[in-house]
């Protein structure tokens, strides 16, 4: 049985996720969309904290919320008329989008519902300590991730170079 505080925090988080997500895709002002996305990402980070993945939550905030959104905002500011409303959507395209979203929702929901009993399991909270995470990240054994780690570092490097090359003035 959950504590009331837990439930309340859950409700707040869940509502934040749902509302921010919906607003992020429906608002016509692009800067606002970015802001809603930021809140949705914060809410996700909150979920991670709630599930006792503190490191991950930290990463989520630092990289996603902090890094990516800032990038997006920069991009918005570099492109035209950040404050303007985008043009109103044609009802046909909105309907189609709605249909697709609902279809995705339905498919996901169906698979969740059919596996209800599998998912109805109490969590076992245990926060992996930094030591474990660090070892796993830099080890080469089974269930350790040096290779992907290195790969990601190379990827990031490539990205930096790529970003510079693509975006620089000719």
């Amino acid at each position: 049985m959950e504590s009331l505080g837990s439930i309340i925090s859950y409700v707040v988080i869940a509502l934040a996720i749902v509302i921010c997500s919906i607003l992020a895709v429906t608002t016509r002002k692009i800067l606002r969309a970015a802001t809603y996305l930021l809140f949705a990402l914060f809410a996700t980070a909150a979920v991670y904290f709630k599930l006792d993945y503190e490191f991950l939550g930290g990463v989520q905030i630092a990289v996603y919320a902090g890094g990516i959104v800032v990038l997006v905002v920069f991009a918005i500011l570099l492109t035209p008329h950040p404050g303007d409303n985008s043009e109103r959507l044609a009802s046909r395209s909105r309907r189609l989008g709605l249909l697709a979203g609902l279809a995705a929702f339905a498919a996901g929901a169906y698979s969740l519902v059919t596996r209800c009993e599998l998912l109805a399991k109490a969590p076992e909270m245990s926060n992996p300590d930094m030591d474990t995470i660090g070892t796993a990240l830099l080890g080469t054994g089974n269930g350790q991730y040096l290779l992907p780690f290195e790969a990601v570092s190379v990827l990031l490097l490539a990205c930096i170079i790529g970003g510079v090359v693509v975006a620089r003035k000719r």
Partner: protein
């Protein structure tokens, strides 16, 4: 001995390499002198070797019973196939190879000498490529010598090919002349085709000999293994070991011997090998290259296409003769082919205008005589017109004729060369009545004609007489056939002789440019060969060259006369004289008789003049059938069907790509829809599977 043997092969080879590589930097004169001297040394060495072989009495060469032996001077491994087959290169001395050494080096030396005069025009300007000419002559001499001293059948094949190649190069010596080029090509390809048979024959023969020998025979190629066959009731001095002989006898004479299409494997192999000989020796139907080969310089024709290379086929059969004796069917084929060729060539020779062509057909005809002579040789007891025939007489006669023919045919060709050189044309129509202007050429040519016609005491008489005797001993039909051919020979040779030197007076417009005898380099060989042609008939061949080394006659100077079968001799003499008389009647003075004859038998004349249309037939086969119906369709098939299929794959891939490239519209929303559709589809499929 070994040194001489090596030098005999090495000098011409080195001379070829030297003249070929450095000839460009040598003055013409020195190239000629060098080549001639090289050949002269080779000739002297060959004479010493042959003399030593025949007359030294060394126990390597002759045994106590007076039988001549085969002696391998040296033999080196060259290429090892498997335990029972190795190609060795060596030097085999036996009666025929010693005899051939003499023939080849003599003629070759004469030709080398003669070419010093022939290969320059009246102003003393050398032919372009003079050094090249001598290099090729040396190459040819090397190959031919290698061929005759071969210790095994594969060595013979190797030099056989080399001889063919050098013949190709020499025929095509005037390479800017299209006719010479096509003649050389024809010669090579026709003989190559024949060599295919030779090769397969070798493979068959050596395979079986190797297969059944079970350790007795270490090398199934060598002649000593192949020909060491004792024939019942006769001692055989060439035999190496009783075991080996037994193996071969079992192989070919047993009822259990392998058969193929009704004949024994041996017969097949030997017929195929004979096919190679047919090609080189210009037997019907593979004779077509030889008349065209006259496109080469005349000394070349004398050396290669009259005296030496073209008798290689005869030599091949003689070399394997003990094997042929075991396959009488093969010998019968040889007889038939030879006889038909002899008659055919003699008929065609009567209707040719080009003097070299006449000589070429006469060569074909004479070689056919040698073939027939080998073909009719059997070891059973036989009688010719009342006289007993020595066993193996045909073999000896064939070799004898080979020897004498080489001498007088080389003489005739060199004489013809002198005429051509003087007149500048090959047609007798441009000559007529030359006897006064070129007396030495006239006399020597006449001697050559008498020799080939078979008038006593010239060389041809004795050898041809022996051949006819051998024929009578085997079958009267073939003997009469060959006698008729001998008559025709006398006729066409004297037709040629009278048309060149008599018929009508030569018209000379300018005394300074009148035809005259040639320089000494050209006349000396003519005189030498004429002398040889007179006396060569007295060489006691029966005591020197026989199929098994066992002498059949004495060795005195007049032994050939003493052993004459006078009834046959009389017959052949009468026929020859009749032939000469007819020729004289028709051609000595300008008259209407030849034209009348021609008009009386127009069809026959046409066919003879056009060589029975063999060339046209071959043209049809090669161009229309091989090129038109095989090569071109295959090339078309390759480009359009095989390659077309490959291209079609590429084209289909291309088409499909174009068809589906619309998917890559660049419209991100469309991609999303496609993606979603795919995802939904997958989900549906999963659900269906799960449910």
């Amino acid at each position: 001995m070994e040194t001489s043997a090596i030098l005999i092969l090495a000098i011409p080879l080195l001379m070829f390499l030297f003249l070929g590589l450095a000839g460009k930097y040598l003055p013409h004169k020195w190239a000629g002198i060098l080549g001639t001297c090289g050949m002269g040394v080779t000739m002297v060495l060959a004479y010493t070797v042959a003399f030593e072989y025949f007359f030294s009495g060394n126990s390597f060469f002759i045994n106590e019973a007076g039988d001549r032996l085969q002696h391998v001077v040296f033999n080196h491994d060259w290429l090892n196939f498997y335990d029972k087959l190795t190609i060795r290169l060596g030097f085999l001395l036996d009666p025929i190879s010693a005899m051939m050494l003499v023939v080849i080096t003599t003629i070759s030396f004469m030709v080398h000498l003669y070419s010093n005069g022939y290969m320059r025009d009246h102003h003393g300007v050398w032919e372009t490529g003079f050094q090249r000419f001598y290099a090729f002559l040396s190459l040819f001499s090397f190959s031919m010598l290698g061929l005759v001293v071969a210790t095994n059948i594969f060595q013979m094949y190797i030099f056989w090919e080399l001889v063919g190649a050098s013949s190709y190069l020499l025929i095509g010596f005037y390479y800017t002349k299209p006719s010479a080029v096509s003649a050389s090509k024809k010669a090579f390809i026709v003989t190559r085709f024949a060599d295919l048979g030779f090769l397969i024959g070798i493979l068959v023969l050596s395979f079986y000999v190797g297969l059944y020998s079970e350790g007795n025979i270490t090398d199934a190629f060598t002649f000593t293994s192949l020909t060491s066959v004792p024939v019942d009731g006769l001692t055989d001095t060439f035999s190496v070991s009783e075991g080996t002989a037994q193996v071969i006898r079992d192989l070919f004479q047993n009822s259990a011997a392998p058969m193929f299409m009704g004949a024994s494997v041996l017969t097949w192999a030997l017929v195929l090998i004979f096919m190679g000989g047919m090609g080189k020796s210009a037997m019907m139907p593979l004779h077509i290259w030889l008349p065209d080969a006259m496109e080469g310089p005349t000394p070349v024709s004398a050396l290669i296409h009259a005296a030496t290379m073209v008798v290689a086929g005869v030599y091949l059969v003689a070399r394997l003769f003990p094997l042929y004796l075991m396959a009488p069917a093969a010998l019968d084929i040889i007889t038939v082919v030879g006889a038909i060729t002899a008659l055919y060539a003699a008929m065609v020779a009567c209707a040719q205008i080009d003097i070299k062509r006449v000589l070429a057909f006469s060569t074909i005809s004479q070689i056919a005589f040698m073939m027939v002579s080998l073909g009719v040789t059997r070891l059973d007891h036989s009688v010719a017109l009342g006289h007993e025939v020595h066993e193996g007489l045909g073999y000896m006669a064939s070799m004898f004729h080979l020897f004498t023919h080489a001498m007088f045919k080389a003489l005739l060709f060199l004489g013809a060369g002198a005429l051509i050189h003087a007149i500048g044309s090959n047609d007798y129509t441009a000559m007529h009545g030359l006897r006064k202007y070129m007396p030495i050429t006239h006399i020597t040519f006449l001697i050559g004609c008498l020799a080939i016609a078979g008038i006593i005491p010239f060389a041809g008489f004795f050898s041809k007489d022996e051949i006819l005797t051998a024929c009578f001993g085997h079958s009267t039909v073939w003997a009469i056939w060959m006698a008729v051919v001998a008559g025709l020979t006398a006729f066409y040779m004297f037709r040629l002789y009278f048309l060149i030197f008599w018929w009508k007076e030569h018209k000379v417009h300018d005394e300074h440019h009148a035809p005259h005898d040639q320089p000494w380099t050209m006349t000396l060989p003519l005189v030498i060969l004429a002398v040889v042609s007179i006396f060569a008939g007295f060489v006691p061949f029966g005591s020197l060259v026989t199929w098994n080394g066992h002498p059949i006659t004495g060795s005195g100077f007049l032994t050939n006369l003493e052993n004459l079968n006078w009834s046959v001799a009389a017959l052949s003499l009468i026929i020859a004289i009749v032939g000469i008389m007819v020729a004289m009647k028709m051609y000595k003075k300008e008259n209407e008789l030849p034209a009348k004859m021609r008009n009386a038998l127009p069809r026959l004349w046409d066919w003879c003049h056009h060589r029975f249309y063999w060339d046209e037939l071959y043209m049809f086969i090669t161009h229309r059938i091989i090129f038109g119906l095989v090569c071109r369709p295959i090339a078309w098939f390759d480009r359009h069907i095989i390659d077309g299929t490959m291209d079609a794959f590429a084209a289909v891939t291309n088409k499909v790509s174009y068809a589906i490239r619309g998917f890559q519209s660049g419209n991100v929303h469309m991609y999303v829809w496609c993606y979603l559709a795919g995802a939904v589809l997958l989900a549906v499929i999963t659900m269906i599977c799960v449910l």
